[in-house]
Amino acid sequence: MTHVLVVDDDPVIADLVAFRLGRLGLEVSVERDGEAGLAAARQLRPDLVVLDWMMPRMNGLEVCRALREDIDADLARTPVLLLTAKAQEPDLERGFAAGATDFVAKPFSTRELVSRVTAALPPGSVSG
């Protein structure tokens, strides 16, 4: 089963994203801060990470960089989708430079999120 890790310190947003992705037939895990998110990514080895930018302990960019620099080549290649209110031109540059695969700007549409997650995963990963 395709596994997605959602890392967001806002429980309402994290739960909503997890619900919508769960409805696509994906297995979803949720973490509430960057440090826990990075540890979970190393342990669970998800197929995709949906990452908030502004988080306590370790922000989304730091997590993204740490993933890209991981000695495990498979983990270093994991697609990362930044779900963030920081989506101005310079933010996009910084996000992509840190290794983000794609962005979803807050305020966001769950339909757009679903489309971008589907596009970032290998074909056939998503049902329905």
Binding site: D10, P11, V12, I13, D15, L16, F19, R20, R23, K106, P107, F108, S109, T110, R111, E112, G128
Partner: protein, 359 residues
């Protein structure tokens, strides 16, 4: 001796008891807050599936429709928390949900409440929850007797996103119940790019405070269509100086090369150092080579702020501008210190990367 010692001991015991009582009160308050927070989180968790079901655009066949009207009041809190983070059909679904639960109609009724906090809360809620449905009623609160309510109304109008609010918000820049420019500016920015045509039209309005604010906002938006109008303001010697400065700064942010000529004219011919400085800064942002000679001339200005702005602008013009600055920096004139400061600001790496004389 016993008397004074006993008194001191008694006072010490009283102080200790007071400290212990205070510590107990703080600990109890902390405990209660923790419990309340845990209870709120639990309630939210219980209600989240209901929100998910409402937002689910592909419900499972045969699944019962959620009872959103009869759900506890905590649901409104969750929805109001979620609303600003979502857009498109999700946001509309949540707005419909609040309307269905009577939240919107209760807020409309509260707009005329006697207590100012209720009016403020109501207008803030409508700004998030009602979209463009109650703009006229919200606009009325821009003239409320309470400053807090007027500020809440301005912010709410910005969030509601209806360009029809531009006029009323700009009218609130003056008069007895005027609002702070910062509050109005944020509200006008929140309206987004749909407000740009109305903002451009407002550049020719009668109110100079509003014209200055609009000029600034058009610059923040980086609206190229506004450039000719802003250029006309910069050229207009009869216009208020504050408005002309705001227009010059806005042209710098927009960055259109066609704005170079009016800005050069303002830098070279205006008697106002403020307008000269702002024009120099704008020329630096635009970066057109035609600005090099006027900016070099500006290095001889009487006002040190103008000289510094010209030096910074030359430093931003690329290799030619920096070469000119190097020449001034090594000379004996009054402009040498500001030229050196501008070059120091750039750092040696930049100067080495583009050697003097390189095009």
């Amino acid at each position: 001796m016993t008397g004074p010692v006993g008194g001191v001991l008694l006072a010490g015991a009283a102080v200790t008891a007071l400290i212990i009582a205070l510590l107990l009160m703080v600990a109890t308050a902390h405990l209660l807050r923790g419990r309340r927070s845990a209870r709120d989180d639990r309630r939210k968790r219980e209600l989240m599936p209901l929100v998910h079901a409402v937002l689910d655009d592909d419900p499972v066949d045969g699944a019962p429709l959620p009872d959103v009207v009869g759900a506890p009041a905590d649901l409104d809190e969750i929805v109001l928390e979620l609303l600003p983070q979502l857009r498109g059909s999700d946001r509309q679904t949540l707005r419909d949900l609040l309307a269905e639960r009577g939240v919107v109609s209760r807020a409309v009724a509260d707009l005329t409440a006697r207590k100012s906090w209720r009016r403020g809360r109501a207008v803030a809620l409508l700004g998030s929850a009602a979209g463009t449905d109650h703009i006229a009623a919200m606009v009325e609160l821009l003239d409320d007797r309470s400053l807090e309510v007027r500020c809440a109304a301005a912010r709410a109008l910005g969030k509601a996103g209806d360009p029809a609010a531009v006029g009323p918000l700009l009218r609130a820049t003056h008069g007895e119940r005027a609002l702070p420019s910062g509050v109005l500016g944020m509200a006008l920015l929140d309206l987004g790019t749909t407000a740009l045509p109305v903002l451009r039209d407002s550049l020719t309005g009668r109110n100079q405070v509003a014209r200055g604010l609009v000029a600034e906002l058009l610059g923040v938006h980086g609206d190229p269509s506004a450039a000719p109008l802003l250029e006309a303001l910069v050229r207009d010697a009869g216009e208020d100086l504050g408005v002309r400065r705001s227009a010059a700064a806005a042209l710098g942010r927009i960055g259109s090369p066609t704005s170079t000529e009016p800005l050069v004219d303002a830098l070279s011919n205006s008697p106002d150092p403020g307008l000269q400085r702002t024009s120099a800064e704008a020329l630096g942002r635009i970066g057109h080579p035609l600005a090099t000679i006027p900016l070099l001339a500006g290095l001889a200005a009487e006002d040190i702020a103008v000289r510094a702005a010209c030096a910074d602008a030359l430093a931003a013009l690329g290799a030619d501008g920096r070469a000119s600055l190097e020449a001034v920096a090594t000379g004996p004139g009054a402009a040498a210190p500001v030229a050196r400061a501008a070059l120091d600001e750039l750092g040696p790496a930049v100067r080495r990367a583009e050697p003097v004389g390189a095009a």
